[in-house]
């Protein structure tokens, strides 16, 4: 409850700050605090107003701890939206206050990244790693920097190095799955997604993405069934409330049906016959649920969605809701 309350407050403050001509520094400070707590992001807003706040006289009474947190927050936001000058100013302050701090060093690297000096940033991070070889923050930056440079293979290599040591890090596995999918290496991506499921077994997104990934490289019915089971689990975990889960489920059923004809002719009919009943059932329910969701959220799209479902399940008329 507390988080949803502070989220509404964030929204209110954002509206107030971006609409008013002369913003009150108190609400800027409150907004920055709330955004740090709820981990919301709005780089441009934080960068401009945070910088103004740091320059104004309102920063004087702020205690040291909070002030330097604000410096860091504004520096990161400024890096994200390319205000290199602002970021540089903030980081310089932090560096002079915390000489030799690894956290400030990483920010310096991020400023260099933002200004386009990839090689300089790489050197900065390498130097930090020499002193603190196990710094999680810097190791993650090493991955990010390769991704920024567009070098997918190096990014994968750097992330593998990271995960070889920090092997219980969920975000790392999620990022690696993304990278592998981008590189078209679906099997490896599936491994990462399985790892994510081991870490957070009740998160439906992981099951959804694993199901989709498995489906996209499945060549035989067995593999498709595995994908299908994961999609069913995703559907169960999200209580059928997410259209993407339902669409994927339908796509999977339709793909299974198109293979099924081939499979039963090659004599694997026994296992599939048992499945058939349920497939049809789940698919029919899923298409019904989709229809309901669209009717509720966007009636204009409902007809298009219905046509798409028809197109998908045209081969298996039993699935269609009559």
């Amino acid at each position: 409850m507390a988080t949803s309350l502070s989220l509404t407050e964030v929204a209110a403050l954002k509206a107030e700050i971006s609409s008013a001509k002369k913003t009150s520094m108190n609400s800027v400070r409150r907004l920055l605090t709330l955004m740090r707590e709820t981990q919301r992001k709005d780089a441009q807003l934080v960068s401009t107003h945070g910088d103004a706040f740091l320059k104004s006289s309102a920063i004087k009474p702020v205690p040291d701890e909070e002030r330097f947190l604000i410096y860091e927050q504004v520096a990161i936001a400024a890096c994200e939206c390319g205000d290199v000058e602002v970021a540089d100013r903030c980081v310089s302050r932090l560096e002079s206050r915390f000489p030799g701090s690894i956290r400030a060093g990483r920010l310096r690297g991020m400023v260099e990244e933002a200004s386009g000096d990839i090689d300089g940033a790489r050197a900065t991070y390498a130097k930090l790693l020499q002193e603190h070889p196990s710094s999680q923050m810097v190791l993650k930056r090493m991955v990010a920097i390769e991704r920024t440079a567009g070098d997918l293979q190096s990014a994968i290599k750097a992330l593998n190095h990271f995960l070889n040591h920090y092997m219980a890090d969920a975000d790392g596995w999620a990022e690696l799955a993304d990278l592998y999918l981008e590189a078209g290496m679906h099997k490896q991506a599936a491994f990462c997604l399985e790892e994510l499921i081991l870490i957070q077994p009740h998160t439906f997104c992981h099951h959804l993405r694993l199901g989709e990934t498995l489906l996209s490289y499945a060549t035989n019915l067995e593999e498709k069934i595995v994908a299908y089971k994961h999609l069913c689990t995703a559907c169960e975990l999200c209580a059928g409330a997410h259209p993407r889960v339902l669409w994927s489920l339908l796509a999977c059923v339709s793909s299974m049906a198109s293979k099924k004809a081939g499979a039963s002719s090659s004599g694997r009919g026994g296992a599939t016959a048992a499945m058939e009943e349920i497939d049809v059932n789940v698919a029919r329910l899923a298409s019904k649920q989709l229809k309901k969701l669209y009717a509720k959220a966007d009636p204009d799209l409902a007809a298009t969605a219905q046509a798409a479902v028809l197109d998908m399940l045209g081969d298996i008329p039993d699935c269609l809701d009559d």
Partner: protein, 269 residues
């Protein structure tokens, strides 16, 4: 001294309710003790900041070992969510393989004590921390008991039971006859010592918030360093060995459950 401070306490406990305290005691005893304690707290805070060494360096290998234990225990707990038997076997081999397995590797057994013997800087750190706690505290205690012992210096505005006598009237000898609500100077010192934490968090902030991620990371590593890795390795290895790999335990009836959930969602308005 006690006699001078308890003016009017000549008669028995019947009169003790009307005991008046000299206002000079408030200005020269009560306030100075509190003030001194507060200032010493502030000085100690800044001193400990100066003395604090940076975050301890953690070797990558140590990170890998503690994270491997974590990952292995997750595999043990959640293996039923992996749909394919092969995936599970592959992971178990990663941990348990006779030659290459992560959990088969030798670990430097670093229980905290052995680590301390080998790393004098750790011992020094701890000594520093303890010293910066103990020295000021014993000094103030001596100071208070030497100069201010025997004062009755405050009165609690509410009635108290006899049990509080030990707590509130330490260091004065007229105990039996004095009302419990009167507080002696030594007790006031103790109350200040334990009660000032809230004031410090208000004025000095919570710890040093500025490098708290480093602190957190350090704590995480220490949690890893604290456990006996060699033992943990053997235990996780055996636990994984005991698991019977099967295809998709969770997934046997996945479609039926999905259908049930969908039906429920359709029924809901």
């Amino acid at each position: 001294m006690a006699a001078a401070s308890t003016t009017g306490a000549s008669s028995s406990s019947a009169l003790s309710n009307s005991l008046t305290l000299d206002p000079a005691i408030r200005t020269w005893v009560l306030v100075p003790i509190s003030l001194a304690m507060f200032l010493i707290g502030v000085i100690r805070h800044h001193a400990s900041r100066l003395l604090a060494t940076g975050p301890r360096k953690v070797e990558l290998k140590a990170v890998r070992e503690s994270q491997a234990v974590m990952r292995a225990s997750r595999l043990r707990m959640n293996h039923a969510w992996i749909s394919r038997e092969a995936s599970f076997r592959m992971r178990r081999a990663f941990f348990n393989d006779k030659k290459e397995g992560v959990l088969q590797q030798k670990v430097k057994n670093n229980n905290p004590q052995a680590q301390m013997m080998s790393d004098p800087s750790m011992m020094q750190d701890m000594m520093m921390k303890n010293m910066s706690m103990i020295i000021p505290q014993s000094l103030t205690f001596m100071w208070v008991s030497f100069f201010f012992s025997g004062f009755v210096m405050a009165k609690a505005p509410f009635p108290l039971t006899q049990k509080f006598r030990v707590m509130l009237q330490r260091g004065i000898d007229i105990s039996g006859s004095l009302d419990v609500t009167y507080v002696s100077s030594l007790s006031w010192y103790f109350m200040n010592m334990f009660g000032m934490r809230g004031l410090f968090t208000l004025t000095l902030g919570e710890g040093n918030a500025i490098d708290d991620t480093a602190l957190m990371q350090q704590q995480m590593e220490q949690a890893g360093a604290g456990m006996d890795k060699a033992n943990a390795f053997v235990m996780e290895r055996e636990n994984l060995e005991l698991i019977e790999a099967r295809d998709g335990m969770v997934y046997e009836k996945a479609e039926e459950r999905a259908a049930k959930v969908l039906k429920r969602a359709l029924r809901a308005r």
